[in-house]
Amino acid sequence: MLPELDVLLRVAMSLTRNSADAEDLVQDTLLRAYGAVERFDGRYPRAWLLTIMRNAQVNRVRRRRPELLRDPEAGDRILESQTPHDSAEQDALRDAFDAAVEEALEALPDKFKRVVRLVDLDGLSYQEAADVLGVPIGTVMSRLHRARHRIRGRLGDTGLLEGGPR
């Protein structure tokens, strides 16, 4: 079985907000997975691994101080490079828009933020996000939808929606 390590690492970074902790969490997940592989039915390996990761993370948080998870500065936050053909004006608009979206995201309650990160940043499906968080899929949907609605509302307040990147 070849686990999707890049997906696991990305999700772990969303959960821990720190690249060193994320690496440890993936290692922990792999160890648990290989220990339990005989009980795995072979279906949905990604969902299986994400559920294991969730349990591993719950155990880690229980052992450690919670403020490590709340540190928004932790982890590498490298923005992807922009498309090379954009004009300087478009670049500036996009930067302003991205900064406002990020600010709106950070202003959300943690439980909303976590769902947005898993779906929009890590590219998980609703079911996969539900597996990671240990909540029903309906909860993922409602949190995600309310989070995006709030982000949109906040962007509207800044007037940036008119000049968003096209």
Binding site: D6, S19, A22, D76, R77, I78, E80, V101, R152, L155
Partner: protein, 93 residues
């Protein structure tokens, strides 16, 4: 998510309210094909819903750009760790 059965209400166009309820699932490709086609049709025709969808798409794209890059060194170490696990070396150390 399947909201409509073929041959029943699936033949009717969606209202703005219905689209609003499933727009996020549409943008996340979480709808079945029949429903997704109907939402897409509505967004083509309805300027208000179409603009709302555009805004949410831009927010989604922006969040995607905000994703931290996966650290290559971490990934390499984890690949090596996984390899050692599968070959039994890791459990011995």
């Amino acid at each position: 998510m399947k909201l409509f059965r073929r041959g029943s209400v699936a033949d009717r166009p969606l209202s703005c309210r219905q689209v609003g309820q499933i727009l996020q699932s549409f943008l996340d490709s979480e709808l079945d094909e029949v429903t997704a086609d109907k939402v897409a049709e509505h967004l083509e025709d309805c300027r208000r819903c179409g603009m709302a969808a555009d805004v949410y798409l831009e927010i989604k794209a922006s969040l995607g750009r905000d994703a931290p890059a996966v650290p290559e060194e971490s990934l390499s170490r984890l690949e090596e760790f996984a390899r050692r696990l599968t070959t039994g070396e890791e459990r011995e150390t």
